[in-house]
């Protein structure tokens, strides 16, 4: 318990008040709060390390470039990737996926080929593939989830054909909060010669990610959901594939030589990092991932498990509440709960909870096809981080009951 209080001190936003009440921040799956170490690095990069990367010989440029490249090494180590040039910095998971959709698409996808995505994907892992399929005359196919929110992996072998080039799946759905069996999925896909992209936007926060153990070909995530500065992100891609893929954007340091007769490209990773990079933001990734690891290893993790079990039981046992994403065992679920309450609109609940100081998410959660799948126009979602406390969870449940009472009249 003491441990969590100590962690909370590191996140200034958590000390804020809203409408005169202490902020209870339960919208971590949308964006997480940032620790002082990240804010300090972000400021330092602006105050003492601000120069463009890779291109100048002066002192400040060297310091900035060193920070930036040290971050690449740190991310490589964190993900246990084999080579540092397999780590591409982007502006976020969405940008990473769009990069793959374009460059992998150009290299490997032809008319009549197939891309397979899970039904529980975020729009960012759906729309770029629709765009690719439109561009190439390829076909988008869907791997369904069952009523409990479990991915129907048993249907995967039947859905894969010799024309399936890529399967795209979230490590953990941002709506259902269930950890998908990525390793098993990768094995099935690889034995069918199909590559796998994993959207790790939620996975990187709640799991220890080892890309070599998972075996996936691409793993993407955003910095801002894992305590780093916004506008930062990572694309991990297997070197062998990245080398065969053409650049996504042109300009900046992605070039080898530029002539009117033609241009050659820089080697990895610069080939995919066109234009001026997020000089101040990207170095915060190193501090943010350190914080994530620290919190996982501290006592905060056990405390969070207790809070998760409490919320799960409270929500599951309430006959008025329909919970989406109910796994066989709670171990497969992160502390993220999407649900709806009988006769109560999610927007009304979110507005009332907001005035009680509680930040939750309501709406379609950037997953309209999944809303259709469950026959709803939206849901309410609470998502926790290791800095959330049991007291906050209890206050949330009390407040929810009060909000429901107001709406029931």
């Amino acid at each position: 318990m003491m441990q969590v209080e100590k962690i909370r001190q590191e996140f200034p936003e958590l000390g804020e008040q809203v409408y005169g009440k202490p902020l209870v921040y339960l919208d971590n799956a949308a964006t997480s709060q940032r620790p002082r170490s990240v804010i300090r690095k972000w400021t330092e990069m602006s105050e003492r390390r601000n120069a463009n990367l890779h291109r100048a010989v002066h002192r400040i440029a060297d310091l900035a470039t060193t920070e930036y490249e040290a971050t690449r090494d740190a991310v490589r180590a964190y993900l246990n990737a084999e080579y540092r040039e397999e780590i591409i910095f982007t502006s976020g998971a969405t940008a990473s996926i769009n990069l793959v959709a374009f460059s992998f698409g150009e290299a490997f996808v032809r008319e009549g080929d197939e891309i397979l995505v899970s039904e529980a994907e975020h729009h960012s892992d759906i729309v770029p593939w629709q765009m690719l399929c439109q561009r190439k005359g390829a076909v988008l196919k869907v791997l369904p989830v069952d009523d409990s929110g479990r991915l129907c992996t048993e249907q995967l072998p039947a859905l894969l054909t010799p024309r399936t080039k890529l399967l795209c799946v979230a490590h953990i759905s941002n709506v259902l909060g269930i950890v998908n069996p990525v390793k098993e999925i990768v094995n099935i896909c690889h034995s069918n010669n199909c590559k796998v992209l994993v959207d790790g936007a939620q996975g990187i926060v709640h799991q220890r990610v080892d890309v070599r153990e998972l075996g996936c070909d691409f793993y993407v995530f955003s910095g801002h959901k894992v305590y780093a500065a916004p506008g930062t992100g990572v694309l991990y891609g297997r070197r062998e594939l990245l080398e065969q893929m053409p650049p996504y954007m042109g300009g900046g340091e992605m070039i080898g030589t530029v002539r009117w007769t033609g241009t050659t490209y820089a080697p990895l990773p610069q080939k995919f990092e066109a234009g001026t990079q997020n000089i101040a933001g990207t170095p915060t990734l190193r501090l943010a991932l350190e914080m994530a690891a620290q919190m996982r290893e501290s006592g905060a993790e056990q405390e969070l498990d207790r809070v998760k079990s409490f919320l799960f039981k409270q929500l599951q046992d309430n006959p008025k509440i329909r919970l989406y994403g109910v796994p066989d065992s709670l171990e497969q679920k992160i502390p993220l709960f999407s649900f709806s309450v009988e006769h109560c609109h999610h927007e009304d609940l979110a507005l009332i909870l907001d005035k009680m100081g509680i930040a939750v998410r309501s709406g379609q959660m950037c997953a309209e096809p999944l809303m259709d799948r469950f026959g709803v126009t939206g849901m309410l979602r609470v998502s926790l981080a290791p800095y959330n406390t049991m007291a906050e969870a209890e206050y949330f449940m009390e407040s929810l009951a009060r909000a429901v009472k107001m709406l029931e009249g």
Partner: protein, 137 residues
Amino acid sequence: MKTLQEIQAEVVEDFSMYDEWLDKYEYLIDLGRRLEPFPEELKTEDRLIKGCQSRVWLDTTVEGERLFFRADSDAIITKGIISLLVGVYSGRTAREIAEDDFSFVERLGLRENLSPTRANGLASMIATIRETARKHC
């Protein structure tokens, strides 16, 4: 007949009686419950203003120079705000509405409910009311 500005001032005054947010919401929920029922057959795609949060349906009829609005939502607080808006603007002349600066919406202090984001259909509803009025001037 009271002027548009007079009615707006009354609505703002009524609403400002509530200091606490939850009391404001209780009031809006009550208004929402008492909103004139919106005919189901009018809940068509072209009357629907779709948002990420709640859905809003708006129906407009024109009688001479006056515009009449009916609206509905699937969320009750939004419905309460609809009740305020319809109460103020329905039955007014197109010219009155077109010349109004809609600052009364700000004075209600419901900014997060009415901000022009994708999240909520209310901002679009207001825009539609203004546009319709301009077209009928």
